[in-house]
Amino acid sequence: MKLFGLYNYWVFALLLMIGLYAVIAKRNLVKKLLGLSIFQSAVFLLYISMAKVEGGTAPIIQHAGEPQVFSNPLPHVLILTAIVVGISTIALGLAVVVRIREEYGTIEENEIQARDRDR
């Protein structure tokens, strides 16, 4: 298992960059938002991986007094709230995309910019 001790972090790096690629290289706005979601999930994965303690269990105390190893609760708290904040900001982004579609008739970035230049 020691060999794979950093695998979680490698996956984090890969997911982060896959998300970033979608944001910078794709022209479709919904695709960019999906990329942003992946980016976000990668950060969640990083935090939760850091919280893990070998041989530990989720930080919910079962029998008081009994010595037990628990994973770190603090990153769990941060990510728990971040997930819900994430969905509300994605909803906000989608709302903007829907309005752009109504005003410009397209959700492709290059076409929107072309329209802007023509004005």
Binding site: T57, A58, I60
Partner: protein, 88 residues
Amino acid sequence: MYYAATAAILVTMALALTRALLGPTVYDRVLAVNMFGTKTVLLVSIVAFLSGRPDFLDLALAYALINFVGVLAVLAFFQKKRHYERPR
């Protein structure tokens, strides 16, 4: 035996993912998503039992309930799309 069952579920997840990637129709992909949800429920149930924390079965219950709503949302999406594409 738990490990064997879990391994089978993971392999099935990979197969369902392949089906979701291959398509060819959108319904195949929705089918794959639905399958994936059921497999996640089973996986969580087994791992919750293995790790000796049966209180985490709440999670599996949540997945079982939520997954169905996703399929219905897809259905409503198809219906809305069909409705707006036909008259125009």
